[in-house]
């Protein structure tokens, strides 16, 4: 029998791994904040799904969030394409508006609704062991574990099957298009995965910390490797260490688990940023010192930069 500590850590690991895998592609596409936008914008989707079904059943919420997530991506692109608005500004407009609509919907129905802003923003991974899925009278274990496990399997399947397409698309969407790849399918497939991952991780770690898990572990891994497959594995690894390390950090300082996970991820990043052998700050400084003994050497040994 798995203890409640066990369930919390498993939940954290599943969420962190899912986020790290799709987050890697967001970071590579220089769309890191799209995860942020989606994680906030899906709120009205969740609330509407909740109001329609009148239950906290996660599947309608997943679908509602998925639809609004893709709508966010689409609307952001349309605004910047059709109007005289930069892409980042357009993202800012879309997600804040949608999020605010979600907040208003919650506050309007706050009296008879069992979701609150606190939970949406910060999540509560500590309650996971008691959020059980009872199926035909049998206790199947915590519900979030099932949902996050399902999302993780979906993400792994998507990335394995579409690996060469995702790789080409994130390297250069133009190249992918000229090679005849289904660029739209790849793009919205990826954004769909981000939406599902975000909403599934939502309840446990909250909207803000989902963003940390989407971006920080991939960014940490990016400083350590030059190959995409290793980047994915390392990102997942750093996601897992954040989840486990964050849990014990929270126990130690007696604070919010979700917060500690994000802090732990941040500390990991800072260490790697300083100490990474090739792209770390210290390593680069030392190598410069060794390579160039005098300023003249530095200039002479520089490769001519072509225009």
């Amino acid at each position: 029998m798995i203890t409640s500590t066990g369930w919390i850590i498993i939940t954290g690991i599943l969420a962190a791994t899912s986020c790290a895998l799709v987050g890697t592609f967001l970071v590579l596409r220089k769309m890191s904040l799209m995860g942020d936008a989606i994680s906030h914008a899906v709120l009205p989707g969740i609330v509407i799904a909740f109001l329609i079904t009148a239950s906290r059943n996660t599947f309608p919420m997943l679908i509602g969030a998925g639809i609004v997530g893709l709508f966010t991506v689409w609307l952001t692109e349309q605004l910047s394409k059709k109007g005289r608005i930069f892409h980042d500004a357009s993202m800012g407009i879309v997600f804040t508006t949608l999020f605010a609509i979600g907040v208003i919907l919650i506050s309007l129905y706050a009296g008879n609704v069992d979701i609150d802003q606190e939970c949406v923003l910060y999540g509560e991974i500590a309650y996971v062991p008691w959020d059980l899925w009872i199926w035909q009278g049998t206790n199947m274990g915590p519900r979030p574990v099932w949902i996050l496990g399902l999302v993780l399997i979906m993400n792994i399947t998507f990335i394995t099957l579409m690996y060469k397409e995702l790789k080409t698309y994130s390297f250069s969407p133009q190249l992918a298009a000229t090679l005849g790849m289904p660029v739209g399918l790849i793009h919205y497939g990826l954004m769909g995965s981000v939406s599902f991952t975000t909403i599934a991780s939502f309840e446990s770690v909250g909207a803000i910390l989902v963003v940390a898990l989407l971006i920080v572990p991939p960014a940490t891994a990016y400083l350590l490797t030059d190959r995409l497959h290793r980047l994915l594995l390392l990102a997942a690894f750093f996601g897992i260490t954040s989840a486990v390390g964050g849990y014990y950090l929270a126990l130690w300082i007696n604070s919010s688990i979700a917060g500690a996970i994000a802090v732990f991820a941040g500390i990991q990043f800072a260490l790697v940023f300083l100490l990474a052998p090739k792209y770390g700050l210290i390593g680069r400084k030392i190598r410069q010192q060794i390579r160039y003994k005098s300023p003249k050497d530095a200039i002479l040994s520089q490769e001519p930069t072509l225009p």
Partner: protein
Amino acid sequence: MKKNDTNITDSTTGQDLKSDPASTISPPIEVHDLTVAYDQKPVLWDIDFELPESSLTAVVGPNGAGKSTLVKAAMGLIASSSGYTLIYGKPLDKQRRNVAYVPQRETVDWDFPISVMDVVLMGRYPHLRLFQRPSRNDREVAMDALREMGMDGYHKRQISQLSGGQQQRVFLARALAQDASIYLMDEPLAGVDAATEDVIFKKLQELRSQKKTVVVVHHDLQSVPENFDLVMLLNLRMVACGPVASTFTDENLQKTYGGRLNILSQIIEQSRQQRFVRESES
């Protein structure tokens, strides 16, 4: 060069009949009526051309003439207000594998975590099905392509650890690995070293002798007569298109460059093209 309606109906009926004898007569690439506008402002106006097999074509014109836009629009990478491209008489979307596009070097992220080999292998992807992984044979084809560009010792390097000329060679190797019939290259010779220039020109000649159709957006007018068969002079409109001997004349160049063609302005033009101009994506 005028659009003709019989040609259009021919090709539309030809689509239904696969391996119809007419398709062997169709030219490798024909572009009809192509007009591109950014925010209502036309940047390419009514372009029509056909190019034969075994040809090397240089696309030249002043900065902002729409050379890159022409190649991108012909590849369907940017929306055009009108016009279409036919590849061997068939729509482009059915012929993607047959057309290799080499984008400008600046348009991709060279810090992306992949090796030289990975980039070249992308040329093999149109030959693979969805979900299918590259085979050993695909790797050999990619390796051969690298060897042909003199880059076989570099296959394990991350792509940012290459010089500009080497990066360009890797791009060309990718196109070669695709084993296409038509090659569209956007400024493959911009800012490369002399050795790379030689390798690329030699490769272009080889492609021609292998019956390929090669179109190169080019900025160095001096090297046109020596290295190309056909030339397309572009300045928003097609000024002239034809064999270098009869088309690459002072008069046509004057028309294309609008009297700005003295050595000084040419130098300014080139430095602008290489350093400052970014085609806006919108």
